[in-house]
Amino acid sequence: MAALEEEFTLSSVVLSAGPEGLLGVEQSDKTDQFLVTDSGRTVILYKVSDQKPLGSWSVKQGQIITCPAVCNFQTGEYVVVHDNKVLRIWNNEDVNLDKVFKATLSAEVYRILSVQGTEPLVLFKEGAVRGLEALLADPQQKIETVISDEEVIKWTKFFVVFRHPVLIFITEKHGNYFAYVQMFNSRILTKYTLLLGQDENSVIKSFTASVDRKFISLMSLSSDGCIYETLIPIRPADPGKNQSLVKSLLLKAVVSGNARNGVALTALDQDHVAVLGSPLAASKECLSVWNIKFQTLQTSKELPQGTSGQLWYYGEHLFMLHGKSLTVIPYKCEVSSLAGALGKLKHSQDPGTHVVSHFVNWETPQGCGLGFQNSEQSRRILRRRKIEVSLQPEVPPSKQLLSTIMKDSEKHIEVEVRKFLALKQTPDFHTVIGDTVTGLLERCKAEPSFYPRNCLMQLIQTHVLSYSLCPDLMEIALKKKDVQLLQLCLQQFPDIPESVTCACLKIFLSIGDDSLQETDVNMESVFDYSINSVHDEKMEEQTEILQNGFNPEEDKCNNCDQELNKKPQDETKESTSCPVVQKRAALLNAILHSAYSETFLLPHLKDIPAQHITLFLKYLYFLYLKCSENATMTLPGIHPPTLNQIMDWICLLLDANFTVVVMMPEAKRLLINLYKLVKSQISVYSELNKIEVSFRELQKLNQEKNNRGLYSIEVLELF
């Protein structure tokens, strides 16, 4: 299936293209390098894969290039003609065109034609043809006139057929077209008259030709917008005679007949042609690829900035002047089949064309590796990869997985994902996982009912995903209020933005207890506080006091304290029972563990309703009390929040919402408790400051004990 790939611009520099566009684009002896001749004075050598010019040559002011530069494939030199008669030959090392080889010819040159494997030919305006070598041997030799007066060469092409160079050129005289075919080796020139057929008024706008064993297939684009084909035999039956050729209609109404701009036609291969021009209805110009066998439009691309009506095709690249810049569109054509041509082939994605992955796999070196260190390693990996490739079936499992994602049912996908994960980790494991998740999420967005939760969970647990790889994942989970998935994301992703963390927090605080019961939340970070809360009750208060090195009774607290003392039972009860259910606690712990930056988090925290803030604060305060129960100031459990995390979040919440919380009657006791807590902290630190000096003295004493003194004699056993 023919396809046009993403275009790119070769030169940002505006070429001095005249109204007729460029003079020509020709191949050079190196693949990927092309000679571009503008209609002024300059020849530029471009390297297409690098999208940059390698060299540029200009003729002197006042001179003008009249024939596009070509490469002599036999010598690697470049040949150009300026001022119709002056021939220049140079190579890459030359800087100035004035100083290179020069030959002044006796007649005006129409084109120099050069193809791989043979010497270049020079076609003169009068129709004579010479080999370049023969011409250079005697530049001033007499050039005969082949075509009649007022006959003008319109187009020419040079083929090598069975190692024989064949030159074809088309001339026009008073609306009649003639084709000349020159067998260069046998020096046979055959002239044909092209019969225009039914519409005598039409003008041929563009020619192209392809060749097979017996015929040159000359295709022409007429002003009526149709493509006609004329078959010209390579070996004429009767060379001497003037013969007529009939054209047959190949494609109808490909382009609009009365196009303002030029149209162009290029044969891409036996079955495909590229047509440049405005399609019938649209006014914008278009590059379209037609399959002439099935007469179908394969692909097309709009060129809104207009073209010069010129089109060149070499290798896999189409060249054209789009707007003011030289544009290259890579063209790929797979073997076409009827099914493909009719659009019935199953693969939406061409199996041959490689999909460029959005995910970079950092574990395998990326081409531009870091110097010599990597070289060996990369070679090793390459070799390993090769082996793997050779062992694997033709369709890699990753590809299979991706195709499954797009169509199959959730259950089937789950099986496939599990199968893939069970495989040994391949070098492109990261990229496949990334692609899979993106594929799944795209489908989720497209089909609201599609939500492959188990799959996503499995993929997240591979530890290779991060928020920035698939921002949609958490968005969808938030929309679905899937707290379990959110918890998993919070645990696994290192780079969750604060706004998303906050959105998660909102959901965790607002979700109903009953809906929480149904979920299967990871309870690792939560310890069942309710079990030992009963017998801890008494001890707790004491330890707290001892821990902090100060006694609240001593503290001359204001009336708020007295108020508190009025209902001491209430207080103990509140501080010992967890204010949230276990599952919610686990979710909140995931929030506590996540990374954040204060400045970015604070504005989002303001959006959380005050009731939820109070609840969260109560929970945090509860955690703090639990923390201070033991000497190491840690919570029991496998992966509990640390004291620092708890304190930081208390501060953050209060910073963000103090004005709101302070107005709430139900938060009053909590605030008083927190106030007491801060007060106790301050006194602890002031005490620490006081004893710092004593500590230092102790340290000094300790050092002296270890010190071996100014002089000592020791026994040392040596080996």
């Binding site: 260190q373 002031s686 620490l688 002089y711 000592s712 004699i713 026994v715 040392l716 080996f719």
Partner: protein, 700 residues
């Protein structure tokens, strides 16, 4: 004190009582680092200390301190710079500009700038001009001529001292930091173009003065200043306006250095912190860049007085005497040992000599010598025991130098009856007499003129000859007998070289003398025939220590790249063992040590052993055992005695390393059973420094 154990045949039977003496630094304390100057061309770093000492470190030769110029009491160096490629200049509070002769290792000349104490100096980008900033507010321009410097002119006089100077890379303008303001001068006219007042405010409180400790002029016209209010500020020199200000410290920011590419710079603060600033794009792939404080480093406890920026590392030095090299990881291509942080604290030469016969140690300080007699014990013990002393170590002698110059080198003779030392201008030789516990000291007067200044002094094993390496490159041999001396011979340097010899080694039989300079190879002289015997093939890295083994007369040479060679003097070739070692190569961990070997000695009864040490370990190389390869454990802890012989033999290799004593300044074998080691605990050095800026640990 025998500790001989189960295996009489093994080497460990020697197990000696190691005696540890610790010497204290003198009354002046260790000398902090005042300035550093990095020379990109030769990859060398010049360092000046507060006592006026200037040291040259060769960063290519494993950061070895290859040269030094002794200090002087009246010379407080305030500025140091390289100019004209490899020429080194310093200026100080005595008002003089000095140039150093890096070949002969002396001061070429000193020139008074007549502007009072000099606070700052900068060489022009072309290297042909020198600018100094003086106490009286003048900025003076000097032209550097091939052999001297020449005063050219004064710039507009400012009203207070010029503390910092920086040239614009084009050489057309300079920035000068003073008290409370920065001036920009036009070099051509010498007039001040701009005067930029620095804010005195410090955390809202107005300080008395704001001292601009450092300025840096970038090619785009930006001036970066650092000041005593803890600010790093960016100024636009074209308009004289403040562009940006970073408050980075609660104390002075004392130094700044900019990379050659001007994409990063480093500042040092009085809190001991070094901050790295980098020019980074505002957003990824945008061309707009801004200066961002990227990394803080805290390798110092005290003021960072000076910083330098080499292409691959940040260099800082300060009052705490450490010289720190912090490699920039993004500039280091290979993650090898060069990418590791380096902290140089101890001198790379040996300042202690020992009289084996009388068990004396001579300690060399900047301005005095101390002679100690080692204590003794009658007790015995097992491995690891500290024995009770029957007699403590005695401080026998405290010899103060006359004059303001620092001591360059000193030596005590093996018999203990001679002490020699030298300063830049004088050579001293003393005769000691021991009568029971009394010591009498007599100076040998009338030193000949050629013995004015010595770089290295050495006595022969029998104490009858004195070898002196003078700074003119000559080696003198002096015969000592009774209380008098006689000049025997002088080996003159090879014609055309003026390179000074820094290291000497004499063979125990007194026949051979080896001498090594800073870069050329090691020369071996025949003392009996008084002629040059041979020259050891030249090696790329400087020699850090060498010694000649008894009986075999093998010369063992340690180089700064941690290679050790053994060269047979009689055969004039490397020994087979040395060739084997070179063929197999040293263990990679051995090559990765970052302090040089400073002393080599031999055991008289065990010819296969070489004892050497650096600051953090000592090692006995047993040439009879197989060499370790990279797979074996280099720091092989002492094999447990309960292991079978087979296991012990299998794990044994030639390098027996112990890290018990560190930092180790000196270690030598006193007799067959006794080692003496001198440790210099870091805490003692720090204890003598002025207290650092106090930081609160707790509290709000």
């Amino acid at each position: 004190r025998s500790t001989s154990g189960a295996e009489p045949e093994s080497a460990r039977a020697r197990g000696a009582g190691a005696e540890r003496g610790e010497h204290r630094e003198g009354e002046r304390g260790a000398a902090g680092i005042r300035c550093v100057a990095y020379n990109n061309q030769s990859n060398r770093l010049a360092v000046s200390r507060t006592d006026g000492t200037v040291e040259i470190y060769n960063l290519s030769a494993n950061y070895f301190q290859e040269k030094f110029f002794p200090g002087h009491e009246s010379r407080a160096t305030e500025a140091l710079c390289w100019a004209e490629g490899q020429r080194l200049f310093s200026a100080g509070l005595n008002g003089e500009i000095m140039e150093y002769d890096l070949q002969a290792l002396n001061i070429k000349y000193a020139m008074d700038a007549f502007g009072g104490p000099i606070w700052s100096m900068a060489a022009s980008p072309s290297g042909s001009q020198l600018l100094v900033g003086c106490e009286d507010g003048s900025v003076k321009l000097f032209q550097i001529t091939p052999d001297k410097i020449q005063f050219e002119r004064n710039f507009d006089r400012q009203k207070s001292r010029i503390l910092s100077l920086s040239w614009h890379p084009s050489g057309t303008h300079i920035a000068a930091g003073s008290i409370d303001y920065i001036s920009v001068f036009d070099v051509k006219s010498g007039s001040a173009v701009h005067k930029m007042i620095v804010d005195r405010q410090y955390m809202g409180v107005s300080k008395r003065k704001c001292i601009v400790w450092g300025v840096a002029f970038l090619s785009d016209g930006t001036i970066i200043s650092v000041d005593s209010a803890g600010k790093v500020q960016f100024w636009d020199s074209a308009t004289g306006t403040l562009v940006k200000s970073h408050l980075i410290a609660n104390a002075d920011v004392q130094s700044i250095a900019v990379a050659d590419q001007e994409d990063s710079f480093v500042v040092g603060t009085a809190e001991g912190t070094v901050f790295h600033f980098q020019l980074v794009p505002v957003t990824s792939n945008s061309s707009e860049k801004q200066w961002v404080r990227t990394k803080p480093f805290q390798h110092h406890t005290h003021d960072v007085r000076t910083v330098a920026h080499s292409p691959t590392a940040l260099i800082s030095g300060g009052t705490d005497t450490h010289l720190v090299f912090r490699p920039l990881m993004e500039k280091v291509q290979v993650k090898n040992y060069d990418a590791a942080l380096r902290k140089i604290t101890f001198p790379h030469r040996c300042l202690i000599s020992c009289s084996k016969k009388r068990q004396l140690l001579l300690f060399q300080f900047a301005h005095h010598l101390e002679l100690w007699r080692l204590g003794s014990t009658v007790a015995t013990g097992k491995n690891g025991d500290t024995l009770p002393l029957s007699k403590n170590a005695d401080h026998l002698l405290h010899l103060k130098t006359k004059g303001p110059e620092n001591i360059i080198c000193s030596c005590i003779s093996p018999c203990g009856s001679w002490i020699a030392y030298s300063t830049v201008s004088r050579f001293f030789l003393y005769r000691l007499n021991y009568e029971h516990d009394n010591i009498s000291l007599k100076r040998v007067s009338k030193m000949p003129a050629f013995l004015r200044s010595a770089l290295q002094i050495l006595f022969s094993e029998d104490s009858t000859k004195l070898f002196v390496a003078s700074n003119q490159g000559a080696l003198h041999i002096v015969q000592l007998s009774g209380g008098s001396f006689k000049h025997l011979h002088a080996f003159q340097p090879q014609s055309g070289t003026v390179e000074a010899m820094c290291l000497l080694a004499v063979s125990p039989d007194g026949n051979w003398l080896a001498a090594s300079g800073t870069s050329a190879g090691v020369h071996v002289y025949n003392v009996k025939q008084l002629k040059l015997h041979c020259t050891v093939p030249a090696y790329n890295f400087p020699v850090t220590a060498m010694a000649i083994a008894p009986n075999t007369n093998n010369l063992v040479i340690a180089h700064s790249d941690q290679q050790v060679f053994e060269y047979s003097i009689p055969d004039k070739q490397y020994t087979d063992w040395s060739r084997t070692v070179q063929k197999q190569g040293f263990h990679h961990l051995w090559l990765q040590r970052d302090t040089p070997i400073t002393h080599i000695s031999f055991h008289p009864k065990r010819p296969m052993h070489i004892l050497l040490h650096d600051a953090y370990m000592f090692c006995i190389i047993d040439k009879s055992l197989p060499l370790p390869n990279d797979k074996t454990l280099l720091y092989n802890p002492f094999p447990p005695t309960n292991e079978s012989d087979v296991v012990r033999r299998r794990t044994a290799h030639a390098f027996k390393i112990s890290k018990i004593y560190k930092p180790l300044l000196f270690m030598d074998l006193l007799d067959e059973r006794t080692l003496v080691a001198v440790e210099r605990p870091l805490d003692d050095i720090i204890a003598q420094l002025p207290p650092p800026i106090k930081k609160k640990k707790f509290g709000t």
